[in-house]
Amino acid sequence: MNEEQRIKKVMIAIIVVLLTAIICLGAIILLDLKETNKSGILLTDEGRENIQLKPITIQGFSEFHAKSDEVTQEFTFCNPKDNNCYMDIEFLLPDGTKLFEVKRIEPRYVIKKVEFLKTLKNGIYENCTFNINCYSMNDDSKLNGAAMNVTLYVR
């Protein structure tokens, strides 16, 4: 009976040690994740765990159709729900003129319309740039982003 009790105590001690180790490891990983989230590119210190954050899903397109001489335009763009970042978007004409911008689009939000900063005449505007800048939802630090080459058709 005494032997059984001793084995039981040893088993309980082992389980407690294992649970403590698991909790500590989890806390370390969480802390490291928070720290890694500070920027898009990180040069790791010696001995530091390498942890990749959740990737950013970006909606891509290559053409944009707009109406001539109108400010309000239909334009669908979403920050997919799986993302963990805000998105700032801006559309630049080939000469660098900003056509519109929308800031801090939260995950799962969809834009249906945008307001052009200037009206455009009929034509095909090649080599426009659509910039997507991403920001951490934890500390608003800048993450990696993307830019797209878009052809704007105005009719």
Binding site: S39, G40, L43, P55, T57, G60, E63, C85
Partner: protein
Amino acid sequence: MNFDIKKIICAFLSLVVVLATPVYASEEIVSANVSYYCDDYFYIQIPSNIVVGDECPVTAVDINISPTKTVYVDLIGDPNTYITIYNENNLSESLDVYFLNHDGNNLEPTNMNLVSFGYGDNGISKSFSTYVSDTTGKQAGQYTGTAMFSIRCE
């Protein structure tokens, strides 16, 4: 009376024959082409952060493009084939991060492509990697920066 009925039937049949006769001379077949082009769209997953030295996956989450087109993910250098990252404690200290494309080759000014995806590549992941050339004499500490990727469908 019988004569009248015959006359009426004859007149009716004549009218039916006349109406049923096709008028070939005035027939005109007009055809019109109906077409509609669905724009290409795609969803690409890029890494939100890059740990220098690690493999960085880029994933084609959903690709709906013409079979003749390809989605290219390029690095936008500043303005070279590398990205500069800065010491968080001393912004005058910097390191250059170089990129290796999916095939393990260094990027070139004329070819900044990291990975590319074709028609039907849904769910496919391709990786690129990074390295720093020389850290000799560089101040200790954490260096950070961001990368911009150019995504184009051509």
